[in-house]
Symmetry: C3
Subunit: 325 residues, 3 copies
């Protein structure tokens, strides 16, 4: 597989894991071109059965992504006709339709809708990451504010550099709210109130604070961030891709709905995963091993430990009779 090098993304192919280094220029900014390149990468890996995980790191020596290109945000706001809440909601809906119809470039460019459509497409890309069978790991090898933090919240796992770095939301100090999903994903990540207070204050988390409140999963020395992210990518990426997609959709999407709607999403995903060849083969093998050994493989501690490493329950040849509880 040969991905052509994009202008802002340096992509390293390590088999099942793709490492993407995002170069936002000397100020490490997230602008519309990065949004477009991200959309392309997500689209590719989602369709490429050989890719199981993507690690995203910053190319800057001390930053993951500084924040959004403020010129982009400012011009978007200046171009938008002054509207009230009802008008804004209508523009967002129009942007969603425009995006779905892919009329963006010829029609919408340089109109008041452009900013809203670009924002809508970025949201769609982040949502696509949430619904994908690919594991996304943010390798936070430096600081991340605003859209940089939102990019990290849209990943499945976050490894952060320990040291004089920070991650969070300063938007309120520029008179705006986070617009790239921060008010939604940070809220679901660390809880309504901690998210509210952090975003209202505009003060970012230190690495230790981010670890304590669950905003990031692990802290390691800066020079080990990418290596540790790759380890996690390989470990989680070793699970069956169909099951990963079903779990991510059930938790991210179903888990944010009412309980009965969420259960509907879960049952739908289960019906799809349950009939897949991979699941059928694994279950038939599980039953055969149970018959052959007289014990459920998952109650054999050695088998379970190997299953966690392999990403699936191993078959008979590799199962012994050691039993547990």
């Amino acid at each position: 597989m040969a991905y052509k090098d994009e202008r802002h993304f340096e992509i390293e192919n390590r088999g099942a894991v793709l490492i993407v280094r995002v170069d936002g220029g000397p100020h490490a900014l997230f602008g519309p071109e990065i949004a477009n390149e991200l959309e392309e990468v997500v689209d590719r890996v989602d369709h490429d059965s050989s890719v199981h995980a993507v690690v995203i790191a910053g190319a800057h020596p001390t930053r993951f992504i500084s924040h959004a290109d403020v010129r982009w945000l400012q011009e978007g706001g200046a171009a938008t006709p002054s509207v009230g809440e009802r008008g804004a909601s209508a523009i967002v809906r129009a942007a969603e339709i425009a995006d779905r119809a892919r009329v963006l470039d010829p029609v919408v460019t340089r109109t008041p809708l452009q900013g809203a459509v670009q924002l809508d497409r970025l949201h769609a890309t982040f949502l696509r990451m949430n619904g994908s069978g690919v594991i996304f790991v943010a390798a936070l090898n430096g600081s991340a504010l605003g859209l940089g933090a939102e990019f990290a919240w849209a990943c499945d796992l976050r490894v952060m550099a320990d040291g004089d770095f920070f991650i969070g939301h300063p938007e309120v100090l520029l008179g705006i709210n986070p617009g790239g999903g921060g008010t939604q994903r940070l809220t679901r990540l660390i809880g309504t109130h901690r998210s509210l207070v952090a975003i209202l204050e505009g003060k970012p988390f230190t690495p230790a604070e981010a670890l304590a409140n669950g905003a990031v999963d692990e802290l390691v020395p800066q020079e080990k961030v990418v290596a540790r992210a790759v380890e996690l990518a390989e470990y989680f990426g070793s699970r069956p891709k169909g099951a990963i997609a079903a779990i991510k959709r059930s938790v991210y999407f179903g888990g944010s709905m009412s309980l009965s709607e969420g259960l509907h999403v879960e049952r739908t995903e289960f019906l799809i995963a349950d009939q897949s060849k991979e699941a059928q083969d694994l279950m038939i093998e599980y039953l055969a091993t149970t018959d052959a050994t007289g014990e459920l493989p998952l109650y054999n501690p050695d088998t379970y430990a190997r299953a966690l490493q392999l990403g699936r329950v191993p078959g008979r040849r590799s199962t012994d009779r050691t039993q547990r509880s």
Copy 2:
């Protein structure tokens, strides 16, 4: 009250508390017959005003429920016609209608819909537990994986045996997602991200981990699990059944909706509970005690302590004038 002994459920009647010991055979599996017996028990206790709480324990020496009968899951997937996401969603909706119409046994059995209908009925039973005025306590006197864990998440409280036991979700290692509510109830129990990571990894929690992240409420030595669960069942079950139902519905159902929808559920439940004879009597007595003693009963620490033990604020005869803050 005489419940006939079912094949898999051994039911002990202790007045307001029912103890159910679930026998899933030598492998302690959760199969379709257990789902049916559970539905019957939930239906009975929900209509029996003398039952205030149910304790559910495993009959196996070291396991609560091992996990689902994998043959059941595997045959369900094999019987389902190969469908995409839209088709799966349609089958789930059809199953919901079939279940509501109670056409299950004659028409649906041995058709591709059977698995989906059985799963839908199990979801309905778990949801009924969530909306009931009966308190359900899981006495986790051993390990629980997959559907065993999901059964525990569907209860209101969980007491777990301390020791070499575990509880969690290995489904990903068999190529499927949890299908008995695990992605929804664990997510609402311990938070989106911890739930996501645990289910993606497929590694269960130790008792200490489950206690730390809130997946279980208490750890006690294995031989004391049932006794402690009965204590909790009696304590929580002593509250007015109508208020318990109103609270459970408001929190489980309303609490998973948008804030304004959730508030609508709460107000509706409040209107029903507020006009009940039990609430009216308790409130009239509360006002009378306030007049008689010159203090609000809940600001009399002795009265409050006794109210917690009795399950309701005691009336005048048992109230003295000791006051607090």
Copy 3:
């Protein structure tokens, strides 16, 4: 600005911060008149651009608000015609319409709908606090049960007196569920399970417990509660009011919806905030400072520290070239 002194509210105007002392009489009760006065205050400050924050304290020496006036609750229940769940839901909907049409006083008073309409208006007031650009800080200078706790949960921040005080929900012990938003806001504040257990038990939190589970933000000695609440009100209230409103709506309302609906709310709020004069000025100044200094102002630690104090990123004159990471 001259607010006339209401019967139950003593209002002190400290410029951007309003201090409201709620006097619920000798028993410190929350009755319908307090609900009406609160509605008026929220309406006023929401429209008064000079008010940025409101501190709410109790006038009683040891209580914030004891709880609701039980006579009010009891008579509301007694007046309601006996209805099932469907009837209760219909009454709630009717009350919402009656409230919107402002037909309350002449038509609805002394009819079975009155209690439901009053409850609905109180919910609307609390929701308006959640959607406002004004910061509400509860100065819990004493205990708060039931509706007193619900009033505090409807605020954005909570400072509580350390000592022999308590906050929580005893409603179950009177046969009812919390009806002023407690099952919804406490659930979103401290998580589904901790909220469920606390409300089912009916036992309030000590100050230390409330701090540990996130139900309150800070504990200080009782005599310092109001002063500390004013400090927080000034600090958070210094942020741009439009951004505060956008953030509060996105987190409270959007954050309780499905992820995709929540993202829609966030994008809509962003579009409104992004085109505001205040945001446009701050962003243009941010870009100018970046050009002048060669560094992003938020990556200059002195500038960021001053921004947190000022409530917005300062402009060029006050920015030096000290750089960070």
